[in-house]
């Protein structure tokens, strides 16, 4: 599996993403935002960071970068695209995923460990997990409050497109377990076709016991097992 990690000038978790992909044995190539070439990558990762400073709206400017034209094409062909944190924000701005990510309800940046419940283990990105499994991963974002109109939320829930949900350590959705006030405690969603996933938490920072958790590995293993090429 060849993973292409898009690097915008303000990306800052591209190293984390590439270490995680390498940890499961994937080949990694870095894709510069000014280029138009995906270098034959099977999977595209849009990593965390502040793509172009994100002063206007997180991800708003990144979606117009040259490489994004290629990423959109890749997604339309059914190619896997994973957007983490800022990557999720960019995917929403680029309309590859519905909804938007707004300022955290607390109005403060949220850097903390959270528990996620895997709501759908039948996706390209989650097959190594079991449905209902609880995983520990960090979040680190100021704009993570997932919002969409009521119809969209209902549709996402009914189609099983809500992939990860913030829960407490016992697995219960609780306001106190939700770091940003996202609707329905949504932490990550997949598109209707199942090939584009966006999530706010950082599974790529939970791939080594030294970092406090290896629960994030499953996501990369899932991709590897399905995309092995």
């Amino acid at each position: 599996m060849k993973v292409g990690i898009v690097t915008f000038p303000g990306s800052n978790r591209e190293v984390d993403a590439s270490l995680a992909a390498q940890a499961v044995g994937a080949e990694v190539v870095t894709l510069w935002h000014k280029d138009h070439d995906l270098q034959g990558a099977d999977v595209i990762i849009l990593p965390g960071g502040f793509s172009y400073g994100d002063y206007l709206r997180a991800g708003a400017i990144a979606r117009f970068s040259p490489i994004m034209q290629e990423v959109v094409e890749h997604a339309k062909r059914g190619g896997p695209v994973l957007g983490i944190c800022n990557g999720f924000q960019i995917l929403c701005e680029a309309h590859l995923l519905p909804g938007a990510l707004l300022r955290n309800a607390s109005l403060r940046f949220a850097s903390q460990w959270v528990t996620l419940r895997v709501e759908n283990a039948d996706t390209l990105f989650t097959s190594a997990y079991e449905a209902g499994q609880l995983i520990r991963v960090p979040v680190a974002h100021g704009d993570g409050r997932f919002t969409a109109d009521a119809d969209t939320i209902t549709a996402l829930e009914e189609a099983g497109q809500v992939v990860f949900r913030y829960v407490d350590r016992q697995g219960n959705p609780l306001p106190a377990a939700n770091p940003n006030g996202s609707l329905n405690d949504i932490a990550g969603i997949v598109n209707d076709r199942g090939n584009v996933l966006g999530l706010m938490p950082h599974p790529e920072d939970a791939v080594d016991p030294l970092l406090g958790s290896t629960d994030g590995l499953g996501l990369f293993e899932s991709l590897l097992s399905r995309v092995a090429a």
Binding site: L56, R57, A60, I61, F64, C92, E93, P98, G99, A100, L102, R103, N104, A105, S106, L107, R145, T147, A148, D149, G181
Partner: protein, 85 residues
């Protein structure tokens, strides 16, 4: 071509939670401004640009809002004024 100054308001859509507005109201109440009923917080952009005339300036800025400046999922915008600086 003339230089125009276009002011735009970008505000959270009705029904979208506005924690900033709520924080401002709460703080104002705590400071004793109890007459305040509700507060909404949005962005105020002022763009200086060259255009053939007022309406060209305005429609050009509408294009920018549609494309970049506002997110239609959560925000509404309105052109608040066009002046010649």
């Amino acid at each position: 071509m003339t230089r125009f100054r276009v002011a735009v308001h970008i505000v959270p859509r009705k029904g979208v939670l506005d924690p900033q507005g709520k924080a401002v109201s709460d703080a104002l109440h705590a400071l004793g401004f109890s007459a305040v009923h509700e507060t909404r917080v949005g962005r105020h952009l002022v763009l200086d640009l060259d255009a053939a005339d007022r309406s060209a300036a305005e429609s050009s800025v509408r294009g920018m809002c549609d494309k970049l400046l506002a997110n239609p999922v959560t925000e509404d915008y309105e052109i608040a004024g066009v002046t010649t600086p």
